[in-house]
Amino acid sequence: MHEMGVAQQMINIAIASIPKDIINPKVETLNLKVGKLAAVVEDSLKFCFEIIAKDSPLEGAKLIIEHVPVRIKCNSCQHLWEVDEPIFSCPSCKDGTVEIISGRELEIVSIELAE
């Protein structure tokens, strides 16, 4: 629902990371990591990104998204597992509190500039 704001932040971070000595930089690819639990819809993010990137060094850049699975650790028995459904109780000891190891990422990994 807030993909427009996310796309704007992505573009701000990407532009700030382009070395100042590059004249007329053009970003070809933006590499992202998005966890499966992150409240971001890929199609919506791409749509918003395209609109906001217009007339910036990121216009026309491709978004490459690496989807990160949800991995959970049980704090009671230390069992580690990957979840596909929204059930976070430990399959091993059925008890205890859990910790999300991965799956909430929303990160810019890198940008690729045209030579």
Partner: protein, 218 residues
């Protein structure tokens, strides 16, 4: 040429949230972020909560809505300090972010507060993603929404530290099974305290008030 970045997209919000947390800690104010879908009864739950904890726990409220001051007016009647945020000024945002809380908190007299409750915008998706500098997060689910909502919106129930199951006075008229609702919350977040209550009849408030008072240390 590839340029490595490795940055969180929401890092601007996260760094402001950390500043807020420090600001509230320096002022000895405990902050609770209260989230739910629209119409779950957050405001009524808050009004009744304020009636029970004040003036022992001096409480302020920041309330977020896209439009209107309706909630602020209801909450002000309890005698609490209230600041309304309308996000239509921010483009109709679906959540409160850390910078909005920073601005709103400056309007409160923190010296006169032990507890600040932030009533977030009614939405079970986006507010879960945005740290606002709170100490604990509460989610309110009402029995009229159906017992499967925790499974449909898992992130919200996973990030919450405590849950309220509201409107239990309506259970005789509904097909909703309250135990299933509680079980679904615990599937998504094992160990999370869940307090079934009715903001209308005030049934079930005592455990919730005890939990909140213990958080504030009063």
């Amino acid at each position: 040429m590839e340029i490595k970045i490795q940055k969180k997209v929401l890092e601007a919000n996260e760094s402001q949230a950390e500043k807020n947390r420090k600001y509230f800690k320096d002022n000895n104010v405990f902050v609770l972020n209260m989230m739910s879908s629209p119409g779950s009864g957050k405001t009524e739950t808050l009004c009744k909560t304020l009636k029970m904890i004040m003036p022992k726990i001096r409480t302020g409220v920041i309330v977020g809505d896209i439009c209107t001051r309706n909630d602020a007016d209801r909450l002000e009647a309890t005698g609490a300090q209230v600041v309304q945020i309308n996000t239509d000024q921010f483009g109709g945002d679906c959540h409160l972010s850390a910078n909005m809380i920073d601005k709103a908190a400056r309007e409160l007299d923190l010296d006169g507060l032990d507890l600040l409750i932030v009533e977030n915008i009614g939405n079970l998706v986006c507010p879960a993603e945005f740290d606002i500098g709170e100490n604990e997060r509460a989610v309110v689910l009402s029995v009229t929404e159906g017992e499967d909502k925790p499974l449909k919106y898992p992130l919200m129930f996973q990030v919450a530290d405590v849950a309220i199951l509201n409107k239990i006075d309506l259970l005789p008229y509904l097909d909703c099974n309250a135990q299933d609702a509680v079980d679904n919350m615990k599937k998504v977040h094992p160990g999370m305290p869940v307090f079934p209550l009715s903001a209308k009849t005030e049934e079930g408030f005592i455990p919730w008030i005890k939990w909140l008072s213990a958080c504030v240390g009063k």
